[in-house]
Symmetry: C2
Subunit: 376 residues, 2 copies
């Protein structure tokens, strides 16, 4: 009752059955994240009674979601416990990343985010229904590579994606108002999760690489976008476009004309194509350095108010390593420090993602796990 974390309005009834699912998730999550536990351990950790734990575990064992892995050697008084473990081979997840400009990336993934099989297909300019057909084709290939039951399909799409899995608008794919979740759900009759690529990326970063519950992950590629994690929860935004910071005017140097028609957008100095040409047209090392510093300053200017207002504890960059990691990210750090932080405050770290190019795929897998099993 005294849940003052400030959720939104109440809008749906709750059945006791959902409480059961919640407790099931609680147990599953404990085993997945903290490793081996006995039933008695689980009862202590989760606050449930031993009996309730036994019931849930019985279900999970019969679904082969867990396995019993014997008793520990550690000699103690009392009956030795039977340790339980999350069964890493219980299922696999099929993930696709549609955010690249030239190809769709696909993978069969394990529960812990490892890539088991990988298949990419060239887009070759396909748009609209053709692009959608290519995705279906890719998924069919991936289904053939499964070596365990499938938990679900995870899709990372560029553009604005609603919470319920409709792509409102994805410029590069020529998609507008396509309910991908419904389409793919009908094709493959299994669970489908769809989300914006940056949103998935930030989730992957949290799940695999960071303990932080409040961070922004900026994806720099053909376009510039970001995913926000606030209090451990993704931010979607009222029109499903939260984090789309590419077209904020950043107020550094001479404002350049953007593809959107405005001047001085962040993308005009930070999108990879623009950065590349600016770097190539710079004759000296100093000039190239300055290009990177300016881009970093631009990003820092946009991020500074966000860091303060949202109390972000980390800024993560995802994109071409060679360009981002160095003077650019350093400039971001310095700009945020000088514009946003109290003099004595510790820096907000600015770092590259450690998940590399698979970040969206891993985020898609995480998303499916969270929606299907309540594990995040």
């Amino acid at each position: 009752m005294s849940d003052s974390r400030g959720r939104g309005r109440i809008d749906a009834k709750v059945l006791p059955e959902e409480a059961r699912l919640h407790n099931r998730s609680l147990i599953l999550q404990t085993l997945f994240r903290e490793g081996k536990h006995s039933r008695a351990d689980l009862a202590r950790v989760t606050g449930l009674t031993k009996v309730s734990v036994s019931h849930v575990v019985e279900d999970l064992l019969s679904e082969e979601m867990l396995c019993e892995v014997g008793t520990p050697e550690l000699a103690r008084r009392g009956k030795p416990p039977m340790m339980l473990e999350f069964n890493i081979e219980a299922f696999q997840i099929i993930c696709v990343d549609l955010s690249h400009s030239t190809l769709f990336r696909g993978a069969v993934m394990g529960p812990n985010g490892t890539v088991l099989h990988r298949t990419d297909v060239a887009i070759e300019g396909r748009r609209g229904q053709e692009a959608l057909a290519l995705v279906v084709e890719l998924l069919q290939t991936l289904f053939g590579q499964l070596s365990a039951p499938v938990l679900g399909i995870g899709v990372g799409s560029p553009g604005a994606v609603t919470f319920s899995g409709t792509v409102i608008r994805a410029q590069s794919l020529g998609w507008e108002g396509i309910d991908i979740k419904a389409v793919l759900g009908a094709c493959f009759s299994c669970h489908v999760s769809v989300a914006n690529d940056a949103n998935l990326a930030v989730q992957a970063e949290r799940s695999h690489a960071s303990g932080s519950d409040d961070m922004i992950l900026v994806r720099i590629g053909h376009e510039v976008g970001a995913g926000l994690l606030l209090g451990g929860a993704q931010l979607f935004g009222s029109r499903s476009a939260a984090g789309e910071i590419g077209h904020v005017a950043c107020g550094v140097g001479t404002p350049l004309l953007c593809t959107c028609g405005k001047k001085g957008c962040l993308e005009t100095v930070l999108a990879s194509a623009r950065l590349d040409t600016a770097l190539k047209s710079s004759s000296t090392a100093e000039a190239r350095h300055q290009v990177l510093v300016d881009a970093g300053k631009a990003l820092g200017n946009v991020l500074a108010p966000l860091v303060v207002a949202l109390e972000l504890s980390e800024i993560v960059l995802s994109g071409p390593h060679l360009i981002l990691d160095g003077p650019l990210s350093e400039a971001v750090r310095l700009t945020v420090r000088s514009r946003a932080l109290p003099i004595a405050a510790p820096d907000v770290p600015v770092r590259m993602t450690v998940l590399g190019d698979d970040i969206v795929l891993r985020g898609a897998a995480t998303q499916v796990m969270r929606e299907q099993l309540g594990i995040s």
Copy 2:
């Protein structure tokens, strides 16, 4: 299970009893916000069965939280329904607003946010334990003015206040790490809600004056702070200081030295004392106009990235009406438009709160209602 709104990690067990409370809130909220309903209406609206509704309503009637108000005259087929209404006299809420520099404001409030009795006390420089004692004294006075059972105490405090009701740091009151919720709870043995004043203000605005679920409310007074509402939920921040934007460098005009030691902070052009002196030292009307425009631009610069990244649909200002409402808020609007919005996009409205000086008191009442009854 397919709750993809991206909550945080699971961290507590759920009992069937909590489902009951949830459904109770659902019914209470429907009656509070939408007015009269019969039991059958409630069943249709909430999705619960008639039987479940009857059970919950029976409880609520016995607690006198609801009242039966007869059958409607509208002649229809079938047994006429017995209409139910939220009992506006069921309880009262005691609220205090500690965010003013010279006095503590207190009120006994009704469930719908009306002020029933009002008592203020002068602070007269009291700090630390003395200030706390003064709050207790004020609350005792307010308890004497109750004419119905008390639902709880709501406290709006300046500074950083944790989700659990501890004031981490409130400069102006000399408070540091004081668990107000525990202290007052022990004194008065009733529910206590404590939150930052700006956070309460934004909640009041949502509840009483706006349908928007994504907005920022900027409080401009001795200091500058803001409260954020994202997807209908308050944002607290990892160290309970989300929204504290007063010390972001805003990059307008010549940077002035701030009390915090940095230069160019938003507060140096927007805090009411600074604004007042700047206005007084301006000899011409044009100069005064420019002061307001500059302040508005400064705020707009800080808000622009927030509006985009968080998809805010409203910017609300709270503070001295005469200063804020006019060129200043207009400058905010224009700055946000030019820095943040696509050329064809509709404006993000910038407006004054309609709740005036009682905004924190009303927010405190709302907070108590939400924590105690699940109504927001």
